[in-house]
Amino acid sequence: MLNVVRAELVKLRRPSLSLSTFAAVIFVTSLVTSLLFLLVDSPEGNGERGIKIGRDVLSLPSGASLSFSNSAGLLGIVALCIFAAQTAQEYTYGTLRNLLVRQPARMKILIGKLAAMKLFAIAMVTLSAGLAIALSYLLAGVKDISTTAWSTPDARDAALRGFINVLIATIGYGIFGMILGLLFRSPISAISIGVIWNLIIEGLLSAFVKNIDRYFPGQLLSVVAQGGSEKISYQYALFTSYAFLLVGLIVVAFLFKRRDVAN
């Protein structure tokens, strides 16, 4: 399986993918962090879905990593696209047959691919975390927000918790993308369905149907990234979202193992 990971990393490291992904991560993180700090006094709100996050909240030990946690949803979409494209491209390019000739154990291919993409997700999230914290310090100075509490042990704990939660959520979104990639076998179909589902269908239904967000993997992963919410506990969000993903993975793994590779 280690051979599969090594092979996948050659593909993931290619500049056209890695540089554009990291550019997307930098853009998303910078945008969310800038909005959070620069609109701190705006009556329109400065957080996700127009939530107002005041100076007092930003001055807390968790303030340094708050913008990073707020970036999780968009980071997740980036991960969804990468995982879906990397999986489905093997069908569209016809390269799956080459992979299976060199490694006929299909589950090893699947697990190795997932492991390599998780490493890629770790790099994405690490970049985002570092950038978010650095920008937070910079913009806190601009907006005269106190950073005294940001260098305390509590702040380090909050940053570490945030990192782990965002990583879990980002990988969760990625797994969702991989499931769609294996199911639809086309990057365009997998990505468009994944993005529409997460950004539009889940969002709209959650706004109009009470408590339905308790059953949507995308919404639950977003709660995981935030470390829990008032309505949904962290534990519930984590276990329910990953239970959905596990069931999805089992189904597509079965299909992947049994399906003829005829293209």
Binding site: N3, V4, R6, A7, V10, K11, R14, S16, L17, Q89, Y93, G94, T95, R97, N98, L99, L100, V101, R102, Q103, P104, A105, D260, V261, A262
Partner: protein
């Protein structure tokens, strides 16, 4: 066949819906030979190759590759190199990177990559992206990828597609060299003329059925030599054909000439008989039909 077998299939079939892509195929390929796998497009060649490589499961039948059952491809694929249905690689990666992906995946040393690129004539294009390659270069990269494991069995599906005549000659020479060094080569083509020169064995498919399987020399023995006689005046065509038939040979009129079944020994006799009958021959040529023509004769096309 007494020599050990690189491939053998028995009653192998694959059905897609109501259509039999391959129907009860039986054939054997001995070790160290070059076996041409020939048939028109859609005759089931790629389906067979995919089953041999564990990519699709047979509907019925069994098969062995290098002595191992095709139900356990993990046991033999490390010793098999393959290019199936044209070269498939990642467009954004270079030739070298594409081979690196497959080398790492198979656990092969990556330091052989440059040598393989040199071998297939891509030594100076290894750092170019695959999407910039011509069709011929893509085929060459596919062959290089198939050679990565230093295979005991090389399976190539239409490897000369897109190659110019010089490239086709190079591939033939390469395959012969590999076979001489002990590698079994199983090469498919829809053009028998492309591989008849280098094939020791032939497996011929038509409409999903094996219509010939055996030594190329056995097929050559089925060839009927022909004498093509062209009279000076086309009015003499029928008369000339009758002369040949009277001497006990089959004769047909085709393309302004009489095609007489018979060895070149009959040429002199036919020439003499024509002269006696007052027919002046513009040309008299003994022709050995190609395997392709023999194949079409066998398949009734």
């Amino acid at each position: 066949m007494s020599s050990p077998l690189a491939l053998d299939v028995a009653d192998l079939s694959k059905k897609y819906g109501d259509r039999m892509a391959l129907s009860h195929a039986n054939f054997e390929v001995p070790m160290g030979s070059i076996c041409g796998f020939v048939g028109p497009n859609g005759s089931g060649k790629t389906t067979t190759i995919r089953m041999l490589l564990g990519l699709i499961s047979p509907t019925t039948g069994s098969g062995h590759v290098l002595g191992e059952s095709i139900t356990e491809p993990g046991k033999y694929l490390p010793f098999v190199g393959a290019m199936i249905e044209g070269p498939a690689f990642y467009p954004a990666l270079t030739g070298t990177q594409n081979l690196t992906v497959l080398a790492k995946l198979g656990g092969f040393a990556t330091d052989s990559i440059q040598g393989l690129l040199d071998l297939v004539g891509l030594g100076d294009r290894g750092n170019s992206k695959f999407k910039t390659y011509s069709l011929g270069m893509k085929q060459r990269l596919g062959i290089a990828a198939a050679l990565l494991p230093n295979p005991k069995l090389l399976v190539l599906d239409e490897p000369t597609n897109g190659l110019d005549p010089a490239g086709i000659h190079e591939v033939r020479t390469l395959l012969r060299k590999l076979a001489d060094s002990g590698t079994t080569v199983f090469v498919s083509s829809h053009l028998l003329s492309e591989i008849e020169m280098i094939s020791d064995y032939l497996v011929m498919l038509r409409l999903g059925k094996v219509i010939f399987s055996g030594k190329t020399s056995e097929l050559l023995a089925k060839q009927q030599p022909v004498i093509v006689a062209k009279p000076e005046k086309s009015l003499d065509l029928e008369k000339l054909a009758q002369l040949a038939k009277a001497a006990g040979h089959d004769a047909i009129i085709k393309d302004g000439a009489v095609h007489v079944t018979g060895t070149s020994d009959f040429s002199a006799e036919l020439n003499r008989a024509s002269f006696t009958a007052g027919i002046v021959l513009a040309s008299l040529t003994p022709v050995r039909p190609s395997l392709e023509e023999t194949f079409f004769e066998m398949t009734g096309e």
